[in-house]
Every structure is written in structure tokens, then in C-alpha cells.
Symmetry: D2
Subunit: 291 residues, 4 copies
Amino acid sequence: MSAGFVGLTLYQPGGLFDSIYFIEEVIVNTRSRYQDIMIARIKGFGKSLILDGWLQSTEADEYIYHESLVHPAMIMHDYPRQVLVLGGGEGATLREVLKYKSVEEAVMVDIDPLVVELSKKYLTEWHQGSFEDPRSKVMIMDGFEYVRKASEEAKKFDVVVMDLTDPYGSEIAMKLYSSSAFQLLKKIMDQQSILVVQAGSSTLFREAYERVEKAVSSVFKHVAEYVTWVPSFAYMNSFIIASDTYSFENIDVNIIDERVRERGLRLRFFNARRMVSMFGLAGLRLEGYNS
Amino acid sequence: MSAGFVGLTLYQPGGLFDSIYFIEEVIVNTRSRYQDIMIARIKGFGKSLILDGWLQSTEADEYIYHESLVHPAMIMHDYPRQVLVLGGGEGATLREVLKYKSVEEAVMVDIDPLVVELSKKYLTEWHQGSFEDPRSKVMIMDGFEYVRKASEEAKKFDVVVMDLTDPYGSEIAMKLYSSSAFQLLKKIMDQQSILVVQAGSSTLFREAYERVEKAVSSVFKHVAEYVTWVPSFAYMNSFIIASDTYSFENIDVNIIDERVRERGLRLRFFNARRMVSMFGLAGLRLEGYNS
Amino acid sequence: MSAGFVGLTLYQPGGLFDSIYFIEEVIVNTRSRYQDIMIARIKGFGKSLILDGWLQSTEADEYIYHESLVHPAMIMHDYPRQVLVLGGGEGATLREVLKYKSVEEAVMVDIDPLVVELSKKYLTEWHQGSFEDPRSKVMIMDGFEYVRKASEEAKKFDVVVMDLTDPYGSEIAMKLYSSSAFQLLKKIMDQQSILVVQAGSSTLFREAYERVEKAVSSVFKHVAEYVTWVPSFAYMNSFIIASDTYSFENIDVNIIDERVRERGLRLRFFNARRMVSMFGLAGLRLEGYNS
Amino acid sequence: MSAGFVGLTLYQPGGLFDSIYFIEEVIVNTRSRYQDIMIARIKGFGKSLILDGWLQSTEADEYIYHESLVHPAMIMHDYPRQVLVLGGGEGATLREVLKYKSVEEAVMVDIDPLVVELSKKYLTEWHQGSFEDPRSKVMIMDGFEYVRKASEEAKKFDVVVMDLTDPYGSEIAMKLYSSSAFQLLKKIMDQQSILVVQAGSSTLFREAYERVEKAVSSVFKHVAEYVTWVPSFAYMNSFIIASDTYSFENIDVNIIDERVRERGLRLRFFNARRMVSMFGLAGLRLEGYNS
């Protein structure tokens, strides 16, 4: 008479409504020095990574999230050689970055060795060998510290991808969403460099989003939001893209299209038309919302 | 230690995950001959209409839904004079249709007099007087029957908008999603006419969506999907647009832009760039999904 | 594939687990000066009173709660003439008190006129005319204030029944669970008087329960806990009974049995054997519990 | 603004309301040939066994359940020597049975070797070495088959304890709740033997309970219900006790008390007064209930 299900669920507060996911199997359930780590099979979405109780990515739709995160910045850049990924422990962000032959070095910095180790073992569909690519350099350390050291060594990156837990989720990523973190980041970027930041839902968690956007805007000349729908997240995910050279206002679909072809990218979600659309649907703010 | 809330919630199965909304106030809670009707204030989304326990539209984001439903078809048509709305009891679909000065008659057919009556009384933010517009003709009857009669009278519509409960929600709309219903509809449309159908989530309720799409495709030459994110629905909502004349493959953003200006439309969400984007982000199918 | 239900639910944190009730119909949904008041039909339990989102009593099992609350104290007393009910807006506590022909006056004091008014109108199964009994005296005022005034007038009660919202639920009852409130109460009771206090679940909300028990124990010589299972509450409800004369340690089932017969009580749940059992099953404390 | 928790929960339909438990840690999550087996730490209740998504017993209150299940039958019997436990894979039922020095052999029959193996390894607080007691004989086989064979060998048991999954929960126990199963059981019992059956909630799952009670009544002369509150179950658990010799109508608390002392039982929940109370509070049927 009541619910048709019984069993393990994942309860996820969502800002305005809460979501309940159905867990079919718990594969890993442990705690690192930094966070609770769970890998579980979720009904309809397959294998999934959950950190501190928050869903990070699922087998069924991680490609939407990761392609949307990586390609707008990479395709906008004329010739990305040096790429930095902050976070991204699953290895899928790295996987997308390495699709560009121009990339000479892809540095990935994740604070939690256990996330990386478990991803290597259980999330092969995510990384697909990207950790073993000779161009990959995986550092286990605090991202902030890495950036500080890199700036001292005058290292420069063409594209920087911030793929951290949400600015309203787990505590551990907070420091990297601050103005001072972005100022530090600027030091390891040049005039042509592009930064992209995963920023949760700007509609449902507006306040947290705007705090990050403000911090980025204090450092970069051009800043824009774009969005992609990740079905398992129950919302449009917002990304903040920033640069001192490229304005994101009039993206030419034909140029993007040409670059996707030229660079020989094999993609499942991203294409020129979708890139333009991701920018076109950004900026949704509900007036009645206060969380 | 457990949940931070206590009180009334709306439980909504969502295909792959369930959602829980927080009810602040129940304004109307009744039953018509056809369905349970509730008007309630939902945390973060304001006043909302709920039919048979399924959320229909909310004060905070109904404009996104209704503008996305109405304008692509209306703006594609060269000069829409006669418009038919099936369902749409809140009066907001009518409101958007009437924004076009070219419209001479907007017929709205809803089966449930109580939904219309309660909308008139409580959902003024939705209809905004559209029921009283001299061009409006509101019929309380079965939509299928209306179409049959109209076809006998050789009546023709330039644009037909199907704004019914989801093809997987309440039972009462099912008949109108069938092939025979679309064949009948075709009789009251001419070569230039455009049909648009709200079709739920093609990603989360794929099977139901594809059944409707197949039925529409059996009748019209050109059929396309476009999507819009309605935050309160927890998903991208799919629409099916169909015509024998207009292909929806290469929509020219400049023409749309010009028409929006020419026709003097005052809109909150819809614009030329967003229209193109809504088509650009359609077509998401998760392989792992089976519901 | 997911939940078999859709619609309105009541979400109730329960200390160690949360409960979800299915609402079939909202009958009243309003706010008084003091609290949110809802009367709704809950699946399986029928018409129910909900204050500030907390379930108070349901048509299906209110008799278990109210008979368990009232009769142990009333039956222990040799000849209850003057009875005071604090709270009990539904009128069902009054109904049980008035079953004793010895009662000359039953004073009920509730702070919220709207609860009493709505109960009179909608909860007829609860009060069954008890408000109209010539022996009833219903006062709308703060219970604490009533007790203060009554003590100044040297009024004495044989039995006092505290039927308030839980000591961990709504805020408004808190003052009456304090030591000073019980000291004040003592002034309007004599050597033979008996006090009974509804005290929520001593197992699931142990800390709140023990606070109240301690306050009562600082004032009365004999204090005991007894329990009754109220199915809709999802737990055994604890009551604290106190007196300076009667010890509750060795209740003679035969004497109770005889009194039930002598006093001509017509009851659905309570009897001598159950009274003994309610004391017998009290005192459950889970060691692992911390809320 | 919404729920204060995020993370893994156990969703449990409860007949009239559903319950949500908070999982702190998943210790084991696997599937045997017969069922899903999970051992998890549940907030407030500690380590817990969950079969096919249904909570079986928790560290915090398993003693209430197991003492209530075993001792009424064992204490009623004049001198229990041979005891049969059907189900009870955790080993806690065995633990309680072995507290009686009169017991010469305690046969435990569980169909699922994995439940027993995992219990041995992870649920040491439950079995406390009872599997190693020289009087224990653990058989991994279908209970029905065991009873058939034992009857062919003319084996007799003084007490039979049925400790299976609920008659409305998992499917695998269903066969043992039938009339034919009880007729077969009768063949391995003599005139003085006592049977006790865990029977779920007679109030919340009334129909399933009454089916079992009817089946037992068709075989035994005296049949009675008694109940105990298991906090983690969210209800009073019903047990059916049956015998051809002992009527359960007038249990003498003094005799029980004496036996508990004589037999040197060390118990946490059960005592003579509670035994009487468990029978005294049985028999709750809500009229409004239909599931």
C-alpha cells in the first residue's frame, strides 16, 4: 500500500527539494583521512562515486559532466599544451584532457590518495587508462600548495580545470574557491590561459555559486557561466569559465565545429552546437528562491 | 541528529530517483470528477498546482515552462491567427499565446471545469487575465471530442499546443497521446500549421516519450525534440514540435531574434539564443536506463 | 520501478529513524497565534490532528493513547471529584475523565482557542460531546497562569492530567515541563492527589524524558513510568505518574479490576491487566542511544 | 533549509507508514543464493543485520527481541531438554536457549550458510560463542526438510522456536508459516512441547499475522499472542505461542519469578513481570486499518 521499494537509499538534500536514489549494491564503503568514500551501484545510473554522502558522478552520465567540464575551455584555446586539473580523482577529467594531441603535460592534483587509488581499481570506465598516459603527472597533495609551489617555479598552464566537490558540499574544497586561491592560480596562467571551474547549481544553490563567481571575476577580465544537464544530479550543473583574452559572448559555432574535427576528438556528448547551447541556457535565477 | 525538517511533504517518484518537496501551506485540497487537485505553497517555489499528486507548475518557474512550450512554435509560424490549446488549465499557456497580436482566436479546451475554476481564483499570477481576453474561447470538454467536432466543421488552426499531464503521470491524458489522436489533429491543421506537445522527460521516462514521438512521427513530415530545464521538475522537460513545412534542423538565430522584436514580445526566459539552445541540448538518452 | 506512491506525505523525525505518513486528504490547514494546525486524513489511521508538523492523535488509535493517559491516575484515586486537564485540546482527555461519575468538575485549560474550536468542529469522534457536559469548564489561557491563579484561590484537584505536545516537539509547552511548574502544580494538589504527565518516548527521546522525570521527582514522593504502544507514533509512549501517597510498585490487579467494574467504565483498551502491563513494560533504555 | 542529513539510508515500508534509518557504515553487502545480506551500522542502533532490505536485528535492541522470543516458551516448560530453532542465523536465539542448563541438545536449522558464516564473523555480540557450545548442533538446510526427516526418525523436541523473516517480508520463509508445516512440526513435538513463532506486527500487518495464527490454531489446542516492543522495528512485535498442555491464560507471576531464579538465568530484559505484561498488552487491532 505504501512504497514499492525496500532497501538502501542515498538521501541527498538538493537545495529546494531532496532526492532519494536507490542503491543496488555497495561496492566500497570506507573513510579516508579526508572524507567518506563510497562506490555503489545506483538504480538506473550504474556504478557511482559518492564522497561524504554527496553523489559525484555516475557511470551512466559522467560523460556528459566530464565532456562539458573540459571541452569548452580546451576548444577555445588555440593550442593547449600544459593543462592543470585540480581534483578530478576519478581520472575522467584527465581522460578528456588527454584527447588533445597538443597536450604535452597534464598535471592532476588530488588531495586524497584513497580516492585516486579506489578510482584506479573500481572506476576503470572513468579513467580508461588515463593515469598511465606518459603525459599524465598525478600529484597527491593539497591543490593550493601545488599552485603555490608551481608559481614559485614560474610554471605556466594553458588550461586549468577545477573539478572539486561542490562549493556547498564537502568542506575540504572550500579553500580553493576563495579569491586568494584564484589570485594564486592567475600566477601560473598567462594572457591566453583559460580557467574553468565546476560550480554546482547556480539556480538551486545560488548564494554559493555567486560567491565563487565573484571571486573569479575579481581576477579575470572575461567571466561567463555555462550549464549542462546531468540527469543524476537532478539539476543543470553550472560551470564558470574565465580568461583575460577570450570573451565568451559570441562563440562561433563554425569555428568550434572545425576545431572539433581538426583535433580529431571522439566525443559522446559535446559538439559545437551543444557548446553554444550550454552558454545559451545559462543564467537561470529563480526570484522566489532563498536557501 | 536526523532530518532537520518536520511536516508536510510532496513525494514524487521521478523515474530514476524520487524527490521530496516541502509544503509550507495547503491552499486548496479537493477532488474533481477527474482528479485530485491541490494548490499548495512549496518551499522555494511558491504557489504550485499539483494534480493527482504530480507537480504541474510552480510560481517560481512556470514562466520557463510556459514560454518554452509556446514560443518556439508560435515564432516559427509566419503569422499565427488561430491557435488551439489542449489542456493548460492554469491559463498560462493561453497568456503566452495571446502575446501575439496576430492571434485572432485562441481556443483552450480543458476537460476539468474545477481546475479552470480554481486556477481563475487562485492562480492569477499564471493566467493574468488571459481568460478574459476577448480573443480567448475556453471550452470545458474532452479535447478529443473537441478536435473531432472541429474537424467536422472544417476548422483549421495555425498552431496547436498540447499542454497535458505527463504521458506517464495521470491516466486522463493518455488518449490524446495516441496515433489516432494525432491523425485527428492533423485534420484541423493545414500545410503550414505547427504542433507542439509537452512530453515529460525523454531521458528519465524514455519509453513513454518515445511512444509519443513515434505517434507524432507517423503523422507529420518534420518532427523534432527540444528541451528546457524546469528546476522544480528536477529534469529537462522535453517537447515535441512537428510540422509538414518547417524543418527544425537549421534554425536561424537572427530570424528568430528579428521576429521576437517585430512581434513586440515581452518575455522573461525565451529569446532567440535560448530557442536555438533548447534544440541544441535535446536528445539525451542514457544507455543504462530502464524504467 | 521506484516508489509505489506519489503525493502528500507527513515527514516526522523520530529520534533514531524518521517516519513518512501518507496523507489522503487535508481537511484543515491553518496557523493560529501559537502554532500550525492541520487536520488531515492519514492512510490507515484516518482523521488526524497535527500541530507544528507533529502528529498528535489519530482516529484509529487515539483511544489507546487517551485511555492510557487518563485511567491509571483516575482508577488509583479513591474518589476523584476535581480534575484538571492541561492541554488536551481535542477533548478526548476530557471525555475519558468524565466517564467517572465521581467527577464533579473537570477543568480543561488550553492556550490555543483555534485548536479547541477546530476540534469541536472536526474532531467529534474525539470529544463526543464532552465540551458540553455541565461538569466541564474549558478555559482558554496559559496553563501556567491558570495554575498560579488557582493556587491563589486555594483550589485543589484530585487528579491533574498534563496532555501537552512532546517535551521535544513544539516549543510552546516547554514551560510546563519545568521544576517550577511542578512546584506550582503541587500547591493545587493535596496529599492524595495524583499527577500524570504525557512524556513522549523515554527510549527514543531519552534526554528530554529524563529532564521531565527529574523535575517531577523533585516535587513528588512517588514517581513511576508506565508505557503504552500507540501504533501511529511508531513507539511506546511514556507517561510519568506521581503522588505523595500512592506508591506504584505493587499494583493489585484485582483491586483495579473491581474498581473498573464498580465505576461502570466502558472502555476499549484499558483494563486491569493492561494497566499492570503498562507499568511492567516501562523502563526501556537503549545503551547505544544518543540523540 | 531542508533535511539536515545527507547520505546512505535504509528505506523500510512499515505497513501504515514508512521508516528511514540512517546508515553510518556498510560492513558487509553481498548476495547469497537465497537473499541479499547486509551488515551495517545504523545511527542509534549500532551494528545491524538486514536481509533482502528488511531490518532483522540491531546491536542496541536485539536482546529485547531474542529474550522475548525464547524465554516465555522455555520458562513455561517444566524441563526443556531438546530444543529446535528454525532460522535464527545470528546465533542469538541459540544463545538464549543455551542459558538453560536443562538443555541437552539445541538444534538450529538455517537454510542460508552465508548468513550463518557472516554472523559468526561479524555478529559476535549476538552469538557470543553459542555456535561452539557442545550442545549446539547447527544444520544448514531447509527447515521444512529437517522437520520431515526428524519426524521419520521419531525425534521429539520440548521447545520449538521459529525465528524466521517476517511472514510479509522475504519470500523464503513462507513455506514454514503454512498449516502443513505446523502439522509436520507437531509430529516432532509431544504433549508437553511448546512452540513459539515470531510473527511480525499483528497490528500493522494484521492479515499476514492472522493467516499464521489460523494455521497454528488448526494444529494446537492452546494458542496465544504476546508482544514486545522492539524500538528499531517501529512497532510491537507479536509472537504466537502454542501448546496442547499449557493454557496461557493465567500465568502466575510468582511461579515464573521462581523459575527464573531457580534456573539461574542472567537476563537483561525478560523477567516475570515483563512476561505477564507481554501477554497483557497483546491483541491490538485497529479497526480503520486495511493494508
